[in-house]
Every structure is written in structure tokens, then in C-alpha cells.
Amino acid sequence: MPLNPEIKKVLVIGSGPIVIGQAAEFDYAGTQACRALKEEGLSVVLVNSNPATIMTDANMADAVYIEPLTTDVIKKIIEIEKPDSLLGTLGGQTGLNLSMELAGEGYLAERGIKLLGANPETIDMAENRESFKKMLERIGQPSIPSGVVTTSEGALRLAEEIGYPVIVRPAFTLGGSGGGIARNPEKLREIAKNGLRLSPIRQVLIEKDISGWKEIEFEVMRDGSGNVITVCSMENFDPVGIHTGDSIVVAPALTLSDKEYQMLRTASLRIITELKIEGGCNIQFALYPHSFDYAVIEVNPRVSRSSALASKATGYPIAKIAAKIAVGYRLNEIRNSITKKTNSCFEPALDYVVVKMPKWPFDKFIYADRKLGTQMKATGEVMAIGATFPEALMKAVRGAEISMSTLNLPALGDKTDDEIRAALGSKNDTRLFTVFEAVKRGFTYKEINDITKIDPYFLGKLKDLVNMENKLKAVDTEFVPDSLYLAAKKSGYPDADILKISGAKIREKLYANYKTVDTCAAEFAAETPYFYASYDDVNEAADYIDHHNHTSKRVIVFGSGPIRIGQGIEFDYSSVHCVWAFKKLGYEVAIVNNNPETVSTDFDISDRLYFDPLTGEDVMNVIQTEKPEAVIVAYGGQTAIKLTKFLHLNNIKIFGSSAESIDLAEDREKFDHVLSECGIPRPDGRTARTLAEALGAARELGFPILLRPSYVIGGQNMVLAYSEDTVENYMNLILSQDIDSPVLIDKYLQGIEAEVDAICDGTDILIPGVMEHVERAGIHSGDSMAMYPAKTLSGRIVDTLVEYTRRLASSLRSIGLLNVQYVIYNDKVYVIEANPRASRTVPYISKVTGLNMVEIASRVILGEKLKDMPYGTGLYKKSKYVAVKVPVFSFEKMKGVDVQLGPEMKSTGEVLGIDRDFETALYKGLLAAGYSMQSDGGILITVQKSDLAEMLPIARKFKQLGFRIYATDGNLRFLEQNGVKAEFVAKIADSDENTLTLIESGRVQYVFSTSELHQTAYKDSIKMRRKAVEMRIPCLTGIDTATTLADCLLSREKYEDFVPLDIVKMHGGSD
């Protein structure tokens, strides 16, 4: 069947903000889908609240709505756009749930809108535990002994029946929120209660614990005619018990015999056939390692994180094919866009192995529980491709940016065997390294397998690495023998480690050659240049360049690596735009990146894709093959920026701001010098390398002060100190971590924060817009709500910001993008920091102003002058629209993390509210960020002493709204003294009826709580805030956030009937 002629206009629902469990992979999927649909001449309407995505670019769809993802909003959009079809299987669980709600209500049927990709019955069959089990029974597929319960008592009864330990899985939650393993009734009661609360349909599944079984996944496709294929199998290095998002995963499955493999493959095909899915589907199995017993764990009837990984691992574009199938095509009617010779109805054959490694945020959340289990905690991941498992694993480890280039974790070296044995039992983020240490010490595979259940095959491969290191250690000649050097390279060892381990020199450095990912193991000639490094002796990339030599104008763009807090999808957005801009400017563009979730690593974004780590040695290899005119580091966040020094030392030309210019901005002393030359004030500051120096600096500056290590990303390890205690704790922590740079100590000015992104051409600058933060300085800019245009800043202040930015651009000799953060304190402007690179706010400002900042910056980088372009110089005209960026957090996934905001960034994503007036934009933003915006009920207020005075007007506003106010003693007394009536609530220790039980009771709709930061997780205030997070009650931890929210609730008549805006129309047509 070709394109279904009844389909003309398709609404595509995106996945919203990045949260743990739902990240950039859905921008990748959605972008592919939009392009695939447009290719068919269909009209595409897109809705997604996440502005940092490529899919919300004006040229990705015919109409683009950056609006809250709620059924009400989607209905409004449907009324405006009148699509005939809805595609909801590409927007993660969010898109799927919304589609299902709309279908369930009968709304879609009433309007004759077709639901593409899957139907509600199918989705229900896959997602509702009871119908899922029935479906499996019907087709003779084994499921895990289990049952669905709706009460804790029911959970306990069922567990008695099937036996402990049991796993609790709440229905319809992202990334398995609220699940866990219970080994006894007490624990079960606790987890079940929490899970029931988190499940939107108040259901949890109780099932037999099959921890330790092999975890195998299949990505499966089916078309409307019933043709089925499997795209890829994947095997978790970490067996069942650790969420697949937190597991090291290999593709294809490596330890299955053909019988086992075909058994599970056939099962996958039967399941997708039974579910009648038209598109892609992910199926997870548990396979008992000692027999053919298996159980189907889960089916995701949509594209997923795993399908993004499978797409990148095989070259088979699952989301694109799923979109084509959804509009009527059969698998064999869709061309394989990699080989361009064959069709999409085949199963990719790999001639390499892929390793995925999670990236966890524990470096940010030092108090978080690092234990891995059924609740996913990773924010991102890297993928690596190699001929062997060790080679790919080594690439993954060094690409994960965890300061490791081999599997030798220094901290483990000093431990005793017993300590290592004990550590093997704890499933945490360093498990791989502990296992490696155990293998190195000669623990038997059996012993390690008994504890970890990791398949002995993988242990044997770790042993290969141990053997390699032993051979290197045994070198007693001046030079590493050539054959050993080559073998070490093929095992994935960087030169620096070969030198270090062997203590010998390298006679002749080897550069990597490149092999192609071609979906077919070289059976057919591939046309698509998707490469990975190898130390074999044929360079397919070089051959490709020779044969397709259109131009010698070549650049390499370095991507931003794994998604982490502080460096998210925004940088992929900029990287992709950079590629597009340089292509438009006549360049051949290669990209290096190792994040499988992203648009930038889609094989048809750049002219050549190098899927490899972003370390110095790895990128030099690419440079050797590409021989580019220059490279670009300005768009890949800190990952790319930190290559600058290395590239400069190797005489590689960098387009845009030079290495010196970047150093000027990053080196504290040099930057201070620049500021004083420019006559720009900054908060007084010092540097310290010892506790004594830090305390001295604190005395000189006077509290409060901000402390942070130099060279920070996203405010890593940054703290706000009001007392010497905090300074002492902090310095001890930092000094214990061997961080090799001084601590910066700044006077903390509690003013208004403003942020400017400028494009600089060496003479002029163009500032698309000035953003003002809702929260005062002290809350990380990534965690602040930000308003464009600046709402409260006077014309004089804005002029000063523009002037200071101009001076900085000139003194830093910035070319391209420059981001400057300011604080306005007592009507005076201070600079906090400047970054000569693309910032987190580029996509947001680009979208709201309609200026493609990355493209303009790229033209400037190549020498065009701003004054020759039609955008003018200085501050660009204000948009008719107001936009408010609201941060989104993943606190419910991170046990033990305090939700109070501070100088260290904690948000994982963001949403944007756009409208003609501030209140409506803010309302949209808050709604999109997940606030229910309930305007009556109760609020619990417990702020620290220093915040009491500012809390008062907020309390009055809530009172005015009709809220019932609950407060603990100090707050209560203060409120009553000031004539605000409130109700007493006891502290946790004082009574059984306390703040926690109040939050649990459902009587409060908001919690407003502040306290001094960086205390331990045992403190009452932290417990209370955690409780609020678990109950999904908005927790306001900043005075300004609370004020803004209250104001917004008060002005609700203004926005109640808001209209969704098409940003394509906003800027008058596409581009």
C-alpha cells in the first residue's frame, strides 16, 4: 500500500521537556518523523513545549506550537489546525499518553481524526498490566508471575502468593518512576504506597523478582500489511534488576546461541503482530541463563530510547520508517536510505559491536543515592562502536566524560579483596570498574558471576583488557613493540595510557582509520558516510572523501557528548544548526559526537558523521582523515570547548573565537584583567587553594559568598555560603576530590540576574534579546525562570548591558557567539561570567526572536560583517511576543536529593511559554512545566528566618486567592503577628500529625519552603520537600518563584482562554 490518500494533515506530538527517562531521543525521533512526513508532501503540525529541540524549528513543520502538552491545549490546536490524523507514537510516553487520552474520550473519533501508528486498544494491551498479561497468555508467551493491585493490602496478599522478593511497578509512569524491589512486607508496604500514588491510574504491578536473568531487548517493526522484521537485538551487560536505561548495553546480543536468539526473535514478532502495531515497538525479555526459560518483561508500543540506540547502532532509521508506515507505506516500499540500493524490509547485519554506557548525574547530586535499580537515574548516554567488545567499551568509558580513559578506577586500588568483594554486591555507577578490579585481582568468574550475575562472557572480555595491560606493563624495552602497540590500540587504549602503563615510548604514532556503519556488514555498497574509528588498515572515510571530493572547504563540528545536567539538548540544537549553516555556506561538514539520542548523530544531518568520543586523541584522528580547513568548538558546550587548548597546541585552526580568546574568558585572572580594562565591575572575588586562604577571602569579602572550582559547567560544585562552617565543609569536600584548579570565591550580590547572547563579528555585535531571570542571583541561571524581553530592567540598565557586552566582545576578541551573565544590584550592573560560545539559551532566543542565531554567527565566523546583513547591530528590535522559560526537574527520580534550588544547577530540561503578554506566557510556561496551576486549596509555608519578611506578601497573595495557609511555629507566629491567619502544623519530630502527614493528606496544593543549602538529607525541611516531590506537589524554594506563581494565579482571568500560537506564523513564514 502506498501513501494513504486520506491523510493530508498530520498532528505530531512531541515529548516535552527533558527529564530522566525521556530525553533527546524524542527530538531525534520527532525530527526524523517530521522530515519523513514532509517528504511525502503532507502538511505537518507539531506541538512540543520544549524549545531546545530541532523539531520545534519553524522549518521542521508547517505549523509549530511551543505550547503546554495537555489535552486541553492539544484540543485547542486541533480546533485551529483541523488535522485529519494524529501521530502520537513518536513523542515518548508523554505523546502516547496524550494520544490515548484524546482517543479514549472519543474526541478524535468525533472529529474523524485518525490515530496513526497504534490504536488505543493496542496501546492498552501493551501498557495496562492486566491486558498485557492476557495478551501474552493468548499467544502463548510467558510473562512474569504477577498481578495488578490497587491497594497496599492487595500488594501484600499477592506477594505472599508468588513469593518474595517482588518488584513493584506503577502503571503509566515515565522511566518506571516509583518502582522498586521489596524483599519483605515492610518494604513492600512502603514502595507500593508510593507507587500507587505516582500511577495516574492508581495501579501497581507486583511481580516475581527475576533479578539476575539476562535482559534482552528487540526492536521490531511492522507495517500495515503485517510484514514484520526485527531491527536489532540488545543485551544488557547488567542483568535484570538494573533499569535498562542505567545498564551498559551491547548490540547485538552477544551471549545468545542461535536457538535462544531465534526463540526470542520469533516471540517478538508474534507480540508485535498480536498488537497490530504499525510502526516500531520495543520488547524486553528476561532469559534465565541456565535454561530456555524466558519471560516477556515489557513492551513499548512506540519509539523509545532503545529505538534511538538501535537506529544509531545499526544505521536503520526506525523513527523515519515508523512515520512512513504510519501514513500507509509497506516496509518494502521504503528505500533503505543508507545503502540506497535496497529496501527497508530486511534486518540489519552488523560487523561491529556497539556499547552504550549511561551518564549519571551523581557528580551534581553528591548527596543522591547512587544505587541503581528499577528506577532509571541516568540523564544521558554515550554509544561506542568497535570491532570487539573491549574496544567499544573502552571508547564508551572515555567518551562518557567521567575522567576515565581505562577501567582502572584509582579509588579501588587501595581496597582490600574483601572490600572489593563487598563492593561487587552494590549496584552503583562504579560497578563496571569494581568488576574490572575483581577480574584484575584474579577473582574467579564464578565468584563474580555469583554476586553480580554478569555473564562470564563479559568477564572474559574484561580479562582480555587485563591481559593487555599486563603485556604493556611487562614491556622492558625503550619502545613498545610495534605489534603490541597495534594490539593495544585495537583494544581501545589511548596513547597516553599506553605510555603510562608500559613506561615505554611509542616509536611511531598510529592514527585511526575509519569503517562504515552500513546496515549490511558490507554486503552492499553504502552511500551514507557514517563512520567509526578502527585500527585496521583500510580507511573507508578517506576513500569516501577521495571519491566525493566536491570541495576542499571542509570543517569539523565537535558535538556536545552525553546529556547531563548543565549540558543538555540545547547544545545539540546549536551543533545541528552549525552543520546546516556551514553546509549552506558551501562547506562540507563533518560532525564528531558520541550521543546516540541526538539529532546531530543522525546520519543525514552532516556530510560525514564520525561516531566517536570527543577526546583530544580521538578528534585528532578525525582531523587526520578529514584534513579540514578548520574545526568548530563553539557549539558543543564544555565538551567541545575543553578541546580548545589541545587543538591549539596541535596547530589546528579553530573557526570563531580563538583559543586565546576562550582562555581570556575562562581564566579568572585574565578575565579580571579584561574587565578592569573595559571598566566593567564584577562582584569582588578571590581565588583560594587551601582552607585558610578560603576563610581569609571570606573575611575580606564578607558573607554571603559564592564558592566554586574554576572551569565549571552548569555551576558544578558551586555553593552559596553564609557562614564559615559552610566554607569549611565545602573546602574539605573539594580538596578531597583532587580537583586540580583553584576555588573561586566571589562576593554574592543578591540582585536581579540578566543574560545576554550576542553575535560578534570583531567590530559590531548583534544582541537578539536580553533575558531577565525571575529568581534573583544565587539560583543557577539554568534553574531560573527567564523572561524575554527583560521585564523590569530600565532602559538605562539595558543600554548598559548592551554597552558592556560590546566592550567585552571587543576585549575578548570574540567572533561568533558570546554569552554574558550579569547581575544588577542596587541599580548597578556587574558581570558574573562570559562564555565565548553557544549557550543554553540560544534555541530559546532564536525561536522567540525569529533570528537564526547559529546561522548568523556561522556567517560571521567566516568573515561576513553584521552591518552587511539585514538584522542591524546592537540590540535587535523587541519581539511582539513575550517568552518565559521555565526549568523542569527530575527530582522524583533522584532519591535523597534536596529540591531546594541554589547556585548548582539541578534542572534536566526546560519548557517555554510564548504569548503576547507576560502573564499568559508565564502561565503557559508553568503549565507546560507541570504545575497544575490550582488556584484554591492549601499551601504549607516554612521559610528560613531570613526569608520571613519577604514571605509575608506572598502569604497575603495566597490568602487573597482563598488558600488555607499552614505553617510551622516560627512562620506561624510571624504571620499572625502581621495579621495573616494561618493554621498550625507540627514539625516532623514533634507529632504524628506533622508537615509530612499534611502533605500526604492532599490538603495542600503548594509547599513553600526555604532553608540554608547543602545540609544533609536527614534534615526535616529536606524530608518535607522530598515528600512534596513524591506527591507531585509543586515545591517553591525561592521567594521570587513563589511571588511569580502567586501573581500568575491572581491574574488568571487574563489567560484563562489563551490561544495557542503557531511560531511559523509568528515570524511570517518559514525559515
Partner: protein, 379 residues
């Protein structure tokens, strides 16, 4: 691995690939071993590949780099011995892991006297075959630089002349073998040209007793066993080399006994009905080949291993029609005959290794038998 374990594969075009000697190649008395170099893209099932007699005379490259991860599982063998001439992979696993595993691949290759090379840039070898077609190659007992004058020329000449010869004669069974089903309803004559056990298993599972006949058995002898159906097995080599066998197959036309041919059996049946075969450039070997059923427009992913194919256009429309084609290169994958109750598949519905998606063909064969009033056994 010591340096002296280095070995070389020389291709007919003179290219040399080095690697580490494994299996019989590591033996002290190893003499040059020749074969036709082919690749398979199958990612699992190395045991089934090794023991598939259809690889007779060939040196097989696994394009998937990691081979032998789950060790040796004898119950998964497709034949009691290994018939291929040599085996090449990136890595042979020395420490396999599987609950059924009994030994390493290197141990198996040594036991069976099969030369093998690991540590090879198999992707490059595959690319050469893709561009030039399947070509002869040799595992050299000495490194090229150690060869005496003339020795190299001699080897090159042998490579030039290399052809897989007497393939079927070497791999077919020597005698009639009975494979009985648990609750037999039918009796099927099984013509063994170098058969995989999987086919026999599939027939047994479908309720048929199987009598396996050596390749050079006459039609009349097979008919004398009064079978309900005739199964033509897979096997190695060029079907054109077996005119005497296709002639015997032709004699079944009058019998109205349902026939099902797989792979070489499919080709021989077609030749017996007047069709011609052609050599494919580098064949189809792997577990991911899409086959389109022209009648239903349904696609199936199939297991394949063949270097020759029936030229679909040479079939007389009055005799047979092509029912299935390869969705990649449109070559003939299935034939249905009009005058005799017969059909055939170029691919492997028995899987082992590979996808099980077309197992329904065995049911169709049984249905044909039923339709022909089969189940003689029951009467």
C-alpha cells in the same frame, strides 16, 4: 598469541590477509588449504554455519566479528562433521559462556581438522568479495616471503584453477537412514544432497517419518519405498554439475507425489523441469534476506546460503511460475509447479540458523500430501 602463530590467507587476485592461525591451521603438519571464499552476514549460529554441508569447498568469512561466544553445543549441529574448507573471523572466543556449552570453537576446529584464521579485517575481505565476486583463496602454510621460487606461481595457478568439485558426492550420506517421527502420519522420502538436520527435524515435527536416501539413488529405488512425499534437500556446489541427479528427479513428474525442494533441491527440481541456473556474483548468505511472496505481497525474512540461483525467466510459464523473489536483487526465491504437485524455496524455511518466519512451508508441503490423498502410512 605468539608471533609465530601468524598465518596468511592469499586471494586469487594475489592479495594477502594476515591473522592468527586457529584450528587445523595451527597444526604443525599443515599443508596449504584451498577454498572458494564467501561471506555470511548471519550474526548468530556459527555452529549451524560450520556444520552446514552446503559450505563444502568454501572458506567462510563471518562478517560479524565475535564468533564462538557461546561455545560448542553439539545438539545444535546441522551435520555430524564440518565440511567447509576454512573459517575466518575477527575474533574466536576463548572463554565461551552458555549453559549448554561444551568447549571452544578453536577446540572444535582442531578436532575436525578445519583451518581457520582469526584477527582478520573481515570487513575488507567482504568488500573485496562484494566487488569482485566469490573468489578462490588459500591458507598458506608458509608466509609469502618464505616461499621458494616457483612455489608462489604454483599456488597462484592452483588458485586460478580452483573449483568446488564433487561437492554433493562428498557430503551426501552413504546409505539409507531412517528418521522416525513420534506419531507418524506420513512417510517422506528425503533426497540427501548434503542435508541439514534441520529439514529432517522440521519434517519429523510435522508428523512425517523420513527416509533419507544418498544423492545418487535412482528415482525408481526411492519410489519403491512408496513415499507420500519427496523432499529435495539443500546441498553444496553448482547444480549444473549434477545432470544425472536432475534427470532422476524428473522421473518423479509422473508419480504425482508431492515434492518440496529447498536450496540445491529447489535448483535441481527446476533444472529437471527445463529451467536454467546462474551463478550469483557473491551469493546470498545470511539470516536477513527479505523474500517477497508475489501472490500475497507478503514479505518474509529468511535464512539463506546459496551461490547459484534459478534464472526465473527460463521457466516455461506452462510448467511453473516464480512465486517468490528476493526483495533486494529480485532473483528467484520460490517456484510453484503447475503440472506436478511441487513447490520449492531457494531459502531455508528450516532456519537453523536464522529466522523461523517461513516454517509454514513445511505445513504447506504436508497439506499438499494430504491433498494428494497421501498419508499412505496410515492406510
Amino acid at each position: 598469541m605468539a608471533d609465530d602463530m601468524g598465518g596468511c590467507l592469499m586471494l586469487a587476485d594475489g592479495k594477502v590477509f594476515s591473522g592468527v592461525r586457529c584450528g587445523a591451521y595451527a597444526g604443525a603438519d599443515f599443508a596449504d588449504a584451498y577454498g572458494e571464499l564467501v561471506f555470511t552476514t548471519q550474526m548468530t549460529g556459527f555452529l549451524e554455519t560450520l556444520t552446514d554441508p552446503s559450505y563444502y569447498g568454501q572458506i567462510v568469512i563471518q562478517t560479524f566479528p565475535l564468533v564462538g561466544n557461546y561455545g560448542v553445543i553439539r545438539e545444535d549441529f546441522e551435520h555430524s562433521s564440518i565440511s567447509l574448507s576454512g573459517y575466518i573471523a575477527r575474533e574466536f572466543c576463548a572463554e565461551p559462556s552458555n549453559f549448554r556449552s561444551g568447549g571452544t570453537i578453536d577446540g572444535l576446529l582442531t578436532e575436525q581438522g578445519i583451518p581457520a584464521l582469526s584477527g582478520v579485517n573481515t570487513r575488507e575481505l567482504t568488500r573485496i568479495i562484494r566487488n569482485y565476486g566469490a573468489l578462490p583463496a588459500v591458507f598458506l602454510s608458509k608466509n609469502p616471503e618464505e616461499l621458494r621460487d616457483g612455489e608462489l606461481d604454483e599456488i597462484k595457478e592452483k588458485l586460478r584453477d580452483y573449483k568446488v568439485k564433487d561437492a554433493v558426492r562428498n557430503v551426501t550420506s552413504k546409505e539409507i537412514i531412517y528418521h522416525n517421527a513420534k506419531n507418524p502420519k506420513y512417510k517422506i522420502a528425503f533426497w540427501d544432497f548434503g542435508a541439514k538436520r534441520g529439514i529432517i527435524r522440521a519434517l519429523n515435527n510435522a508428523g512425517a517419518d523420513v527416509i533419507s536416501f544418498p544423492a545418487y539413488t535412482t528415482a525408481s529405488e526411492i519410489l519403491s519405498h512408496n513415499p507420500d512425499g519427496l523432499m529435495l534437500s539443500n546441498g553444496p556446489g553448482d547444480p549444473k554439475d549434477l545432470p544425472e541427479i536432475s534427470a532422476e528427479i524428473g522421473k518423479f513428474a509422473q508419480s504425482k507425489i508431492p515434492i518440496f525442494g529447498i536450496c540445491l533441491g529447489h535448483q535441481l527440481l527446476a533444472i529437471s523441469q527445463g529451467a536454467k541456473t546462474e551463478k550469483l556474483k557473491y551469493g546470498h548468505r545470511g539470516g536477513n534476506h527479505p523474500v517477497l511472496d508475489i501472490r500475497t505481497q507478503r514479505l518474509y525474512i529468511t535464512s539463506q546460503n546459496h551461490g547459484y540461483a534459478v534464472s526465473g525467466g527460463t521457466l516455461s510459464p506452462s510448467v511453473a511460475s516464480v512465486t517468490m523473489i528476493n526483495d533486494h536483487d529480485k532473483t528467484c526465491e520460490g517456484i510453484e509447479y503447475k503440472k506436478i504437485p511441487a513447490f520449492s524455496a531457494q531459502f531455508h524455511p528450516e532456519a537453523c540458523s536464522g529466522p523461523e518466519d517461513t516454517a509454514f512451508l513445511f505445513r504447506e508441503f504436508i497439506e499438499n500430501i494430504e491433498r494428494q490423498g497421501g498419508a499412505n502410512r496410515a492406510s
